[in-house]
């Protein structure tokens, strides 16, 4: 059954089109879509961010997105379509940097929970890094999650 359900995985330099994402993962069985987008935050406390630049280990990143989609379907049996899209390159304030979208028959069928799980996992295991440019310079941001053997397929 899963093979007939839409799964859109992408690491892309193109801007993320939320309308196209919604359309591409919505099946005739779906009455609900939950979409999470990460955006470039301009202020974090007193810190100013001018732009972010993302880079990816493309081949491994796509494989890890597939793993996350599989984990989502295993944990949330009521969901249908899945989109996991990470944008790379330079992004300005407010622009979506990442999107996780999930469709389901009804709003109580796990789409909210699956979308939250999807973005949490993406931030743990998908090899993508961001370089932050502030008024005083720029530097790579390191995450704080060290993968374990349980994070392999």
């Amino acid at each position: 059954m899963n093979s007939t359900l839409p799964t859109l995985l992408d690491i892309t330099r193109a801007p993320i089109d939320l309308n196209a994402l919604q359309t591409s993962i919505t099946t005739p069985l779906d009455g609900a879509v939950v979409l999470f987008t990460g955006t470039v935050r301009g202020r974090t406390g007193d810190e100013i961010t001018e732009q972010l630049e993302y880079e990816a280990y493309q081949e491994m990143a796509v494989a890890k997105l597939q793993q996350i989609a599989d984990e989502m379907r295993a944990q949330f049996a009521g969901i249908h379509g899945i989109a996991l899209v990470q944008r790379i390159g330079v992004m300005a304030l407010g622009e979506p940097t990442v999107a996780v979208a999930v469709s389901a028959g009804h709003r109580g069928d796990g789409a909210f929970e699956a979308a939250r799980f999807g973005i949490d996992r993406l931030k743990q295991i998908v090899p993508v890094w961001k370089r932050e440019t502030r008024p005083d310079g720029s530097s790579w941001i390191e995450g704080d999650y060290m993968p374990t053997a349980a994070d392999r397929r």
């Binding site: 280990y57 081949e59 491994m60 990470q86 931030k123 295991i125 998908v126 890094w129 999650y145 397929r153």
Partner: protein, 79 residues
């Protein structure tokens, strides 16, 4: 052996990949050590970075072969 570097490691090395001599199988822990020997400016980062082998996370006791696709990178910060 060809090793891909990303983010902080790429910046520290000044390049996106490095070569180390490898003919026999070694462990991931030994790989970290050899990267540091061949490229001293990477020694500290290599000791604590994430290692992937054939696009999957790999750990210190596991084996690396000369034909594997290997990468070193910091904990991810995408999203």
């Amino acid at each position: 052996m060809h090793i891909r570097l990303f983010a902080t490691l790429k910046e520290r090395a000044g390049r996106a990949d490095i070569e180390i001599d490898l003919t026999e199988d070694i462990t991931v822990a030994e790989l970290r050590h050899r990267v540091g020997q061949a490229h001293p400016q990477l020694a500290e980062l290599a000791a604590r970075s994430v290692v992937s082998v054939n696009r999957e996370f790999a750990f210190d006791h596991e084996t690396v072969r000369a034909s594997d696709e290997v990468a070193l990178f910091p904990p991810v910060s995408g999203g």
